[in-house]
């Protein structure tokens, strides 16, 4: 089983992208599991999957998978992987998770795991996030395969250019795409899918 890890700060569009990628995989007849981690005891993100096939939806609550409930993630991946018909797992950690720790945790499940790491950057909030949560943002970008700058519609062209410049400073050479995930999620997901998943 291969995995897609969708990292990004709170509210950056992780669930929207996860949903679109799951749809693309399903379209191609690929059985896919979705693992969603929310901090707290009530799940809200999973409600966005209303109307979709929820049989392969796994929710992990009561803490963040990068620390308190890391073992839950390992057990969840083990149990999904036991079903050999599942070819991909999409992992959406909480928006406060340290990506490097999640990658370590995935390594406990399978040290040779194939992980496509997508990082969502909330464009308009990037300056503020770097100012207040520099370590968290840098950590998420450290091993990204692709970076998606979201909320492009809320930025003027100069701000967008500045965000791209800062992202390139933080993660030189990593491909960056942008979009308004609320209206444009299928295009963004399709680009990610074509580059890293369908091949």
């Amino acid at each position: 089983m291969k995995t897609i890890l969708i990292s990004g700060f709170l509210g950056s569009g992780k669930t929207t992208l996860a949903l679109e990628l799951a749809r693309l995989l399903k379209r191609d007849g690929v059985r896919t599991a979705l693992v969603i981690n929310e901090v707290g005891e009530v799940g809200i993100d999973a409600d966005l999957f209303a109307g979709e096939d929820r049989s392969q939806l796994f929710e992990i609550f009561s803490g963040c998978v990068c620390c308190q409930v890391g073992s839950d993630l390992v057990e969840t991946l083990k149990s999904i992987d036991a079903d050999e018909s599942v070819q991909w797992a999409i992992i959406e950690p909480s928006g406060v998770a340290y990506t490097s720790q999640i990658l370590d945790t995935i390594g406990y499940w399978n040290e040779d795991a194939h992980v496509v790491q997508i990082v969502l950057i909330d464009g308009p909030r990037l300056p503020s996030l770097i100012e207040h949560l520099d370590n968290l943002i840098r950590d998420s970008l450290h091993s990204a395969n692709i970076i998606v700058v979201s909320k492009e519609d809320l930025m003027d062209p100069a701000s967008t250019n500045e965000v791209f410049r800062r992202v390139d400073d933080l993660a030189p050479g990593v491909p960056v795409i942008s979009g308004d995930l609320l209206r444009d999620a299928p295009r963004v997901a399709s680009e990610v899918f074509t580059r890293f998943v369908s091949s």
Binding site: L10, G11, S12, G40, V42, L48
Partner: protein, 106 residues
């Protein structure tokens, strides 16, 4: 109440919370809510900008009641202020629309 009215409730709730807790629009967090109306969901969220709402339901949908879940997660906000703001927002929005709520906190 129809979907539009319920969506208005969600937008008003999150709008009030946003105005109260991050009046400058800079939220290091995410406020989100979902309303289960039985035959569909209404989902609303904000990260500091004007709240957005999404409906996943077969329309038209009318529902006399629903299950509302709210999750507020943010840096640099203390939980007492958040709870107070939530209580005030719910009282104001529900009272304005003649709605009655039963609470369950986690």
């Amino acid at each position: 109440m129809d979907v539009e009215q319920w969506s208005g409730v969600m937008l008003a709730l999150l709008g009030r919370l946003r105005d109260r807790l991050c009046p400058d629009g800079l939220l290091l967090g995410h406020f989100k809510a979902s309303l289960n109306l039985g035959a569909g969901f209404i989902y609303a969220n904000t990260t500091g900008e004007d709240p957005l709402v999404r409906v996943s339901a077969d329309l038209p949908l009318e529902a006399p009641h629903g299950l509302l879940k709210i999750a507020l997660i943010a840096y640099e906000l203390d939980s007492k202020s958040v709870q107070r703001a939530l209580d005030e927002a719910m009282s104001a929005v529900f009272e304005q629309r003649g709605l009655r709520a039963e609470f369950q906190s986690t």
